[in-house]
């Protein structure tokens, strides 16, 4: 375990010795013959909000899925909050995973549980909170996401936007250090997108959670990001603050991509 040297993170976890919370070293991921990530290196400092942009198939979502341990890399090292995700024993991975929350494009709420149970299940079963503590916290989070009156509803009774807000509350209930957002508005009807993005802006502004987003909402990316990473062909081809990337990118490929999506 690296020593805890980053003063601005929770004392029990910390980052790597040089103050990074997430670190990819020479990570290669292939699906069959298709190399999705090619010798990728990048890092994220605690509390930062990083947005990954790039054409589809450029490996953005794969990065989130690797961080959530839903995929494994063929080569390279991934560390999160001072713990090695890959290569590591499952026990180590299990501990690291608890620091990471994720919201999915398709929400993936548990349809057989009420909204409240969706949010309390993991805090009770994984963190060992009492039912009362977990429910009190879940109700606070439901208030934050504006769905207090839906605590006893089943996910099937909610709109897509409401389901995504519950899914974000569910991820936050685990008090993660890192929140992964995988195209969280892509499956939503256009009129429901704003509510979810406003919520995420709120969370970005009022918490110190590190966020890694994959999104096609460029104005949202510009609003919340500290750093934007432009991906193409499994590599980061350009990175920088959003003002720079969106108004004055260095790479022709970035200009071309932004010209197509903006």
């Amino acid at each position: 375990m690296p020593a805890d040297t980053a003063p601005d993170t929770a004392p029990e976890t910390g980052g790597t010795p040089n103050g990074e919370l997430i670190r990819f070293d020479n990570v290669t991921k292939r699906f069959g013959d298709n190399t999705v990530l090619d010798d990728l290196c990048f890092s994220v400092k605690p509390g930062k909000h990083v947005t990954l942009i790039g054409p589809s198939g450029s490996g953005k979502t794969t990065i989130l899925r690797l961080l959530m341990t839903l995929e494994s890399p063929e080569e390279g090292t991934i560390t999160v909050a001072g713990r090695t995700l890959f290569p590591a024993a499952e026990k180590e991975r299990r501990e690291a995973r608890k620091k990471i929350g994720m919201a999915f494009q398709q929400f993936n709420l548990f349809p057989n549980m009420t909204v409240l149970r969706n949010i309390t299940e993991a805090p009770v079963r994984v963190l060992g909170l009492s039912k009362e503590e977990a429910e009190a916290r879940a109700r606070e989070l439901l208030e934050l996401v504006g769905l207090s009156e839906k605590a006893d509803a089943k996910p099937g009774q909610l709109s897509g936007g409401q389901q995504q807000r519950v899914a974000i509350a569910r991820a936050l209930a685990m008090r993660p250090q890192v929140l992964l957002l995988d195209e969280v508005t892509s499956a939503l009807d256009p009129e429901l997108v704003a509510g979810v993005l406003d919520l995420l802006r709120d969370i970005a502004r009022t918490t110190d959670i590190t966020m890694v987003c994959v999104t096609h909402e460029m104005s949202f990316a510009r609003d919340i990001s500290d750093e934007v990473l432009m991906f193409d062909g499994g590599k980061v081809i350009e990175s920088g603050p959003p003002e720079k990337i969106f108004s004055d990118p260095e790479q022709a490929r970035t200009r071309e991509f932004l010209g197509a999506v903006l």
Binding site: L70, R94, R97, F110, P111, E121, A122, R125, V126
Partner: protein, 216 residues
């Protein structure tokens, strides 16, 4: 051929006894097939091949051999190795075991039909394996497959007369005993035939209603 109502009344005491045994076999056999089938289905997904292969081979074997042969095997061969149960217990185990290999396939299909995103959400929340199975995956799978399980209960009901072959006193065996003493076959066989219809048909309507409700 004449229909003799008095033969029907005379059969009634045996009929009720037989019905009770048939229903007993059906209920216990169903419970056994539901629980064993779940065990097989979970074993199909075991991480180790040392679990998967034997379970696959065993269930394939049981599924591909006739229930009647299995009944005879359990009733006549096992006692030679010192394992001895009553006809009723043997019959219930045989039918429950046989049908568990069908319900296992039903469970498997139900589990496979749960979207991948549910597993991923469970991983993202660090849920332990047993919570993922019993709180997330199985409740969704079982909901989908309830009608299919119901159909196997009905099929099992119609297979219970096979137990007469080892002397279990269920409906068919009771009607045979009745006929053996009165030489009247028409009435007892007709009565048990009607009894099977009266149980199976409403049950299949119930399964269909359930299917429609779940489809909504």
């Amino acid at each position: 051929m004449t229909w003799d109502w008095s033969a029907v009344w005379d059969f009634m005491p045996r009929f009720w006894e037989g019905l009770l045994v048939t229903l007993q076999v059906l209920v216990l056999g169903s419970l056994l097939s539901f629980s064993l089938g779940l065990v097989w289905a979970l074993a199909f997904r075991a991480p180790s091949r040392l679990v998967r292969w034997p379970v696959n081979a065993f269930t394939e074997f049981v599924r591909s051999t006739p229930l009647l042969v299995q009944l005879f095997f359990l009733y006549f061969v096992l006692p030679e190795w010192g394992i001895r149960f009553s006809a009723l217990v043997t019959g219930t185990i045989a039918i429950g075991l046989h049908y568990s290999t069908y319900t296992a396939q039903v469970y498997r299909a139900g589990i496979d039909a749960v979207p991948k995103g549910q597993w991923e959400a469970a991983t993202a929340l660090s849920l332990p394996a047993h919570r993922t199975w019993f709180a997330v995956i199985l409740p969704q799978a079982v909901r989908r497959i309830t009608p299919a399980l119901g159909n196997y209960v009905i099929a099992m009901l119609k297979d219970t007369p096979l137990l007469a072959a080892i002397g279990v006193l269920e409906l068919l065996q009771q009607s045979r005993l009745e006929s053996a003493s009165t030489f009247q076959y028409t009435e007892p066989l007709t009565v048990i035939g009607i009894a099977f219809i009266l149980i199976a048909y409403p049950a299949s309507l119930l399964v269909r209603a359930l299917e429609r409700r779940l489809a909504r």
